[in-house]
């Protein structure tokens, strides 16, 4: 099974772990991620204004590559996923926007949201199946209490993302369970860490991360997993009480041969 893979800028630099473990785990689970040729950065956040065209072109190009290859486009980073999924939605449902983009790109092959976009976790859930993953896991994580940190980008806007129940998601918990560990549910798991405000508003981010960290710790989490490099950076930088891992690291650990 092959998928087109959009790693995004951060996974090539500061979040290499997220990328490497995703690829290796994929191979262990029987699917392959083929990187999009010469992909461009998605921009990190989706500009909601409907007159913003240029900021969404990189995503459209990646989507067109998936359409041409005839396979779904897979992302791992929450931010890339959010931007690409929202762009795809706009291309499919906003005819005026799609028309402007197609005129701009003007390569004779108009795009109207034909490609499918999957987050890596959705591939695990919908295509591989968590029960299959469970069979392949080694049990090294048994008894570990792990909290899923969704943040905002994976879940919202839910009408577009369609990822999971935005207020009571379970996909990462199901993955943690499949990996052999015990998921810990805590109240702030779907609240924002502060995101890019890390640059200008470190105090705001510190406050947000403190709330999330407290909530997770109170619920008894021994570690947090996330799909977003910026969430991880913010949590770690602001002195999280528990280690913060990428979900792919956890998956990889559970799938490794050596215990």
């Amino acid at each position: 099974m092959k998928f087109l893979y959009y790693p995004g800028c951060t996974l090539k630099n500061k979040a290499k772990d997220l990328d490497i473990y995703a690829r290796e785990s994929a191979l262990k689970l029987g699917f392959e991620l083929i990187e999009v040729d010469e992909f461009q950065c998605c921009g990190g956040v989706f500009t909601t204004a409907n007159d913003e065209i240029a900021t969404k072109l990189a995503s459209v190009r990646a989507l067109k590559a998936a359409k041409a290859a005839g396979v779904p486009l897979v992302t791992v980073c929450s931010a890339c996923h959010n931007v690409i999924k929202q762009t795809n939605y706009a291309m499919k449902n906003d005819a005026e926007f799609a028309d402007k983009v197609n005129r701009y790109i003007n390569d004779g092959d108009d795009y109207h949201g034909e490609a499918e976009v999957y987050h890596y976790l959705e591939v695990l859930r919908d295509i591989i199946g968590f029960d299959k993953i469970k069979e392949k896991c080694n049990g090294a994580l048994k008894g570990k209490k792990i909290g899923a940190y969704y943040g905002c980008l994976l879940l919202r806007p839910s009408s577009v993302m369609g990822f999971d129940d935005p207020e009571n998601p379970r996909i990462i918990e199901d993955m943690i369970k499949a990996a052999g560990a015990a998921p810990v549910i805590y109240g702030e798991r779907n609240e924002c860490c502060g995101g890019y405000a890390a640059l200008e508003e470190p105090a705001l981010v510190k406050k947000r991360c403190g709330i999330i960290d407290e909530s997770a710790k109170a619920a008894g989490a021994e570690a947090l997993v996330t799909a977003c490099p910026l969430c991880r950076y913010n949590l770690v930088k602001n002195g999280a009480n528990v280690p913060v891992l990428y979900f792919t690291e956890l998956l990889h650990k559970a799938l490794s041969e050596e215990i």
Binding site: N13, C41, G44, R156, E201
Partner: protein, 130 residues
């Protein structure tokens, strides 16, 4: 002739794609906003002030740059108003003015450390510059 302010208001409503008239003033957006305490004008006020055309104070407010675009208000709004999109449209109206870019390539350096992911930098540029 429409006034400058009226044109601005129409432009913001158009680019946001949000219907501010739908708002029933329940304040749920502000009840859920993670940046509430940092904001001078809160999400429900953005919606209301755009509705009434009182936009100048918003354009000059720091609140524009406190929204984290986390979409909590969008998802939870019972009226489908999408406050985050209104904030974004006002912010774009502000930074698209001549010389109003909030972040410059030179200016960004002071915020950086060794670990900061690229994602944060590109996102900030997306949000703070035209």
């Amino acid at each position: 002739m429409k006034s400058k302010n009226e044109l601005l208001r129409e432009n913001i409503i158009r680019t946001s794609g949000a219907d501010v008239k739908k708002c029933m003033k329940c304040g749920k957006c502000s009840g859920t906003c993670p940046s509430y305490d940092e904001m001078e004008y809160h999400p429900h006020q953005f919606v209301y002030m755009v509705e009434t055309g009182d936009i100048e104070p918003l354009l000059n407010s720091e609140s524009l740059y406190k929204c984290l675009t986390c979409f909590a208000c969008v998802d939870r709004c019972p009226r489908g108003v999408q406050p985050a999109k209104v904030v974004e449209a006002v912010r774009l109206a502000a930074i698209r003015q001549q010389g109003k870019n909030r972040l410059t390539p030179d200016g960004v350096e002071k915020y950086l450390d060794d670990e900061i992911p690229q994602q944060a930098i590109v996102s900030a540029f997306r949000k703070y510059t035209k």
